[in-house]
Amino acid sequence: MKSTQINIGSTLCRPDALLKVSGTAKFAVDYYGQDYIWAGVKRASIPHGTLKNVDCSKALKVPGVLTVLTHKDIHGTNRQGVVKKDQPVLVDDKIRHCGDAVALVLAETKSALAEGLVAVRTDTKELQPVKDVMSALKPGSPLVHENNAKGNILLAGEIAVGKSLAALKECDVVVEARFETQRQEHAYLETENGWARLDDKGRIEIVCSTQTPFRDRIEVAEALGMDPENIRIIVPNVGGAFGGKDGITVQSLLALAAQHSNGRPVKMWWDREESFLASAKRHPCMMAYRLGAKLDGTLHFLDVDIILDTGPYDHLGGVVLALAMEHSGGPYRIPNGLIRGRCVYTNNPVGGAFRGFGVTQVTSAIERAMDLLAEKMGMDRLELRLKNALKAGDRNFVGKTLTTSTGIIECLETLSRHKLWKQKSSWKCGVPPFKRRGIGISATMHASGYGPVVPDYANAKLELTTRGSFRIYCGVVDMGQGNTTANIQIVGSLLNQPIEKMEVVLPDTDKTLPSGSASASRCTYTFGNALISGAKIMQERLCQKAADLMMIKDSNEFSMIPGAIRHLPTNREIRLETIARIMDSSEKTVTAYFRAPVATDSVTDDKNLRLHGIPHNLFSYSANLAYVEVDEITGKVAVADYLTVSDCGNVMNPQIYEQQIQGGVCQGLGLALYEDFETLDGRIITKDFSTYLAPTSMDIPDIQSVALGIHEPTGPFGAKGIGEISTNGPLPTIANAIFDATGYMFDKSPITPEAILDALNINLSG
């Protein structure tokens, strides 16, 4: 019989799973309402230009079009952004990428909207686009933002480590390489959408698909000149985000539309093409690496230069750069070196948050450099990694002393004992005709949370209902990763209550409490810690109440059991619903606050880099292995097996943990071998899923996940972040496996069959 008991550390099937597969769970797209209208965006369609005029007259004559709004209808700053607010809701001066919004059309029907959008005429003067980072950095390049003090540079930073460049000459062996990673689209199932309504008290309610309801509220308010109290953001189930909804998408546009819809609900729903055009992407990245070691393989020096293409807006580009810089040395002790980074404006699609968040890019570089070094030194690649892997108390490359659980050595050692590592030679020997086989490994680390300056906090709220169940007010969005299930496990196990006694309220700025974004591998760590405090307070309060009712002095003699509280010495019980009835509503609600500990190390004097997150305090680790088979006839790569050994703390839910590993690996394999969001002079070439190819189930190997379950003392039940790290492994692991198979280290991703055939240049028939 299935137990409905809730435990930490055993699989609890997501309570929302059945609702989602049966189509009963509500997403933002399921909101319509009485007498609703459609809103849609006229996009710029040119990468760079001056907007001289928007002519709405024709559109207004289209039957069914209600109104057309431009920047002139916005009475706030008309600027959005997380750190630097440089992105307009509707363009008021310049068009900076093809997906820029220039006008907002409100219409009775979808077809009237489509016709209205075509009828909006924009009068623009095209400017020469800044098409890539190299041309953006050239003196005399056109500027994306004329008033930006540093030209086309959004953020630049430099961190010297140890003796910096002077240590280069102390190295016995140095490898030098350049790497380039591509732009990647999140490709979530649920495209950006939402629904909004202005009520008669002047308050706007927005239901939307977002990772950041509380921050959205403030951004929308500022951009539109509203009081944040007059904006309510509700986030029902979310159909994927991966960072792509960490920031404003439809929210301000919907609020603006609601201001002009005479109280009628407004619905906006981007189709896939619009989502591709307008949404943020993983930053393309260029990396120059010089990695030096002593003769015995001890790493001694690393020189890193990172350039990110952030497109025309900050979005989270500066923060992505900082995280990339911080992780540029991988999970290794490297005492000397220099980290340089630049995040550069262009007229390409907006670069933004994407699972992995800059770490994915630099991990692919340091891990390929490690294999090049091992090759040059004639050293085993696993041995080289083990020799230099971080231990607690070591300083990582950026100079942060590791004070939290540090399991990379255990990850690598576990990998070395795994049968896939042990059987690698025999697998390679069994290679069929016209194939080459190779094995690759990588080691990764990934920080969680916001860094030393921006407060990483959560406010949990928990309520005992009159039915005697517990209602968890989830302040952090669950966009599919499963943190809501983790919340249920935390409360259920601490209060000893079965699943039937658990209820959740999904994020809603009127009901749940501000708890930061659903990002940065922080959801369960930060909110979970707050919720643990909340559950403990609830338990104490209820036991005290029971003690008072039974007129027993010591509340410690009470314990919670499913549905009731029992006085252990006498076995007398009181039902939870009975207690609930006699409690005042404020008594029945508990709130608790948690703020994540931060690093106090002074690794840089650059206040701006600190603001952008350097350094972090808590890291997850993984070691990865892949078997690949390269086809000599076509250049195609088949990934035969993939293994991740991870230290993401104690495992609260094995199934969800593994799902996070599997999903992240799939996205990483997409980056390694398939996905490329291509542009030409700022214009998108891969406009839809017929040309932007993500891997299918037919392309994904068996993925094995081994979780070490090392207890993290600061974590909720010893857990650490699991959301992102698995995305970082595949690109370097696959590249290193192809290196092993072919002797050729590919420095550009995705690694295409064409590139492989070019590199191999084998004359098979000669």
């Binding site: 489509a114 075509v118 093409e273 005709p433 016209f434 006839i633 076509t634 250049g635 195609k636 398939y674 291509e678 070439i685 891969t686 017929s690 040309t691 190819l693 891997p695 299918t696 189930s697 037919m698 392309d699 295409t752 069959p753 064409e754 055939l757 098979l764 028939s765 000669g766």
Partner: protein, 280 residues
């Protein structure tokens, strides 16, 4: 909004086509409906053939196999006649699109769409498939290679419908080989494909061979010269090498978003090497 007709009888269809000279005809809709989605103006009139039951199913007599144009890819994969005699087609069908596309898409649709990447086409070319084209008053037959004129272009007049595909049962081939090179393993348009029917003698000489390539020209390509050249050659790397060069010279690929012409040319030739696995 477009009008959609769904005739259930041929007479009904001919009437609709007569009355609607601009009508756009489709079967499974897996190509047409995708294209229409991105178009702002839709055709006034669509004719869906899916209720014309006479054009569905697979039959055989002593000499020929007849495949109704409205037979879906899935139905063909499940069909015992095709499973028994037309392995080459099943190899290709298994790699066509994805399960939903195979459930909806039809053989006739794949032919009339006339994409050089159409997965069933290279097999049909080497099966010397004949197409039956029906209209109100007549039926004509045409070999597939003369019916398909170029990308998206077929020899089909308004008022005509591709009704069935006819394949001769002889000669018999031992080797039915199809390889599709796509950018991923499902839901991928082929970058190059090669279909082969072959017999190999006991002393490892090619005794009979037919070859066709997809995605390396405006239509599927078949070269009689290469087929003749290969007969009698040993099925070895040396025996195939000259033919590989010939193929690479004869194919006419283009650059597009999926691959460069150079890659396609290179791989079109090299795919011949995969036949070595059938050597005896």
């Amino acid at each position: 909004m477009s009008k959609v007709f769904m005739p259930a009888q041929p007479d009904e269809l001919w009437g609709i086509l007569d009355e609607n000279p601009e009508a756009v005809v489709y079967a499974g809709g897996t190509d047409l409906l995708v294209r229409l989605r991105s178009r702002f103006t839709k055709p006034d009139c669509l004719v869906c053939l899916e209720r014309l039951d006479d054009l569905k199913g697979v039959k055989a007599d002593d000499d020929d196999i007849f495949i109704g144009a409205l037979t879906t890819h899935r139905e063909m994969l499940n069909d015992p006649i095709i499973q028994k005699d037309l392995h080459i087609l099943t190899h290709a069908l298994k790699q066509l699109g994805s399960p939903p596309i195979r459930n909806m898409g039809t053989l006739g649709g794949n032919i009339v769409t006339a994409s050089p990447a159409g997965d069933t086409l290279a097999p049909l070319y080497i099966l010397n498939a004949q197409l039956e084209i029906g209209s109100r008053n007549s039926t004509r037959r045409a070999p597939i290679e003369s019916f398909i004129l170029g990308p998206g272009k077929v020899d089909l007049a308004h008022g005509e419908i591709l009704s069935r595909v006819v394949v001769r049962k002889v000669p018999k081939f031992e080797v039915h080989h199809y390889e599709k090179v796509g950018k991923r393993n499902a839901l991928a348009c082929s970058v190059v494909s090669m279909a082969t029917l072959m017999n190999v003698s006991s002393n490892n000489l090619i005794s009979n061979i037919r070859l066709a390539w997809g995605s390396v020209g405006p239509t599927v390509l078949r070269f009689g010269d290469i087929e003749h050249f290969l007969v009698g050659k040993p099925l070895t790397v040396e025996g195939l090498s000259e033919a590989i060069n010939m193929i690479q010279e004869l194919v006419k690929p283009i650059d597009d978003i999926r691959a460069t012409a150079c890659y396609r040319r290179e791989v079109a030739g090299r795919l011949l090497l995969r036949l070595l696995k059938y050597s005896v």
